[in-house]
Amino acid sequence: MSITVRDLVHVYHPGTPLETKALNGVEFEAEKGKWVAVVGHTGSGKSTLAQHLNGLLLPSSGSVSIDGITIGPGEKSLRAVRQKVGLVFQYPEQQLFEETVFQEVAFGPKNWGFTPEEIKNEVEKSLAQVGIGPELFGANPFRLSGGQKRRVAIASVLSSRPDYLVLDEPTAGLDSSGKKQLLSLLVDLKSLGKGIVHVTHDMDLALGLADMVFVLDDGKSLLWGPPELILWELLERDIRGLVIPPLVRFAGRLRDLGFEVPLTWDPIRLAEAISGSRRK
């Protein structure tokens, strides 16, 4: 069970002066219960790829299939796929429109034709997952704080019971505690067996939380592997749009100075290594 992308090409505005080849032969995979980070310079095609994963954009050529369903122009497969793959856009709070938090979160399940009991269950479950208590169910979504709005918006995607969650820069504009909450929610969802596809600029997050990292460069797949591998590649050569996390740089410098520490982006591990190497 997985999302499989093969030789994906996407051209915006074909045949006009604005023609842009945003993706050019991309190979990509995401599995249930796994976290994939998608990184790359601005304009590398991350958002374009994300929108293919649930059929919002259709391939110019190549194929995208979700749990065996190949995305095509047919309306039926599209609806099935869109329910399986939840897409959280950047600044998802901007898509809120209902009068109450409850109705907002019920929008998706209603569209998919869930029964009234299912709707109620899913709404309550999703809001609980994102940490919105029942006292806010009747509140006007536009009156909530920024962080709360974001969480309601994410709940409104979770309530459709997707197997995969694709998030485009979900932490943009959140303060550090909001960020932490959101990430721990994603970790929980992963442990519940959902597949997470996380588009981000933040290498710390990509390396620290993902099982696999996918690097896009100019619409092409550049690298695909576990965080360690990506880190080694990053130390070997410059990759456009990716920065080495400060902690890794710090560890690297320590090694240059003769300390026996591992190259890591995990502060605790590094601290332990430093104290260990001094005691030696």
Binding site: Y12, H13, G15, T16, P17, L18, Q51, N54, L56, R79, R82, Q83, G86, L87, F89, P92, Q94, Q95, L96, F97, F107, G108, K110, N111, W112, F142, S156, V157, S160
Partner: protein
């Protein structure tokens, strides 16, 4: 679901061509001349002449024909609708009837003429905005209207409002597309059912759009005030408009063409 991103009506397309580099004022006046000319046309010969003229200026502008056609697509329905109305509601000699519906020879005639005329009006007007940037367009209008400033006509304010409005169209379309996608991803079904159902289905798009637009407008006003914008008085220009010999030439030729077509048409008329 077809998204709005397949080019929009008359959005500026920067290309390096002689038409693009004309003074906006000459283009605005020439467009008015063309629109008037097209409006006066009655005979097939006149339509043909204006059609050829349009093909000529498009080829000089180096914009692909497919773009011109696709950018006028949004108004086709309107044009077809007008034609159909004329087809069925013009009194005259019937050539075909079916129940209460009756098509007359005059109706056919009017339908074809009105359809062609509207299509050409849209094409010429669209061509102006395809080849002139919003800023240039506003500068040109402001300059053309500035003699009226003496009588208290708010030429600068109107031009500024137009620039901002035009500048916001692409942004607005992008935002609309983004919100539509987000709601479709949540299972919204935006293009099925009758008109009323569709309208209701669009609430999830319209509400967020209003919120964003007001937010943007507010941001813009604040940003303009913060940079000391107080209106037209004493404001200088980055690129003063420059009227060249080519501009005079183009304008003269267009005018002559329009007059020639109209005169010849009069003479050919029975």
């Amino acid at each position: 679901m077809k998204f709005l991103n397949n080019m929009t009506l008359g959005q500026y397309v920067p290309v390096d061509s002689q038409i693009h580099s004309l003074d906006p004022r000459s283009k605005i006046i020439a467009t008015i001349v063309c629109l008037t000319g097209v409006f006066l046309v009655r005979e097939p010969y006149g339509f043909l002449s204006w059609g050829l003229f349009f093909v000529l200026i498009v080829s000089v502008s180096r914009l692909p024909g497919s773009l011109i056609i696709s950018s006028s697509r949004p108004v086709w329905i309107l044009i077809a609708f007008t034609s159909v109305i004329h087809l069925f509601f013009t009194k005259g000699v019937p050539v075909f009837s079916w129940g209460i519906l009756e098509i007359t020879r005059e109706g056919l005639d009017m339908a074809v003429r009105m359809g062609l005329r509207l299509l050409m009006l849209v094409l010429f007007a669209g061509f102006l905005t395809l080849t002139t940037s919003p800023t240039e367009l506003a500068d040109g209008l402001e300059s053309l209207f500035s003699p009226l400033k003496r009588f208290g006509f708010p030429a600068h304010e109107l031009a500024m409002m137009m620039t901002i409005a035009l500048r916001f169209i692409p942004t607005l379309l992008n935002e609309t597309e983004r919100i539509m996608k987000a709601q479709i991803a949540r299972g919204a079904d935006l293009d099925r059912g009758g008109p009323l159902r569709r309208l209701r289905a669009f609430i999830p798009v319209l509400v967020p759009l209003f919120v964003i637009v007001f937010q943007r407008a507010d941001d813009l006003a604040t940003a303009m005030e913060a940079r000391n914008y107080t209106g037209g008085e004493g404001r200088t220009r980055m690129y003063p408009l420059r009227w060249s010999v080519t501009d005079s030439g183009v304008l003269m030729l267009t005018l002559l063409f329009a007059i020639a077509v109209s005169l010849l048409e009069k003479r050919l008329m029975p």
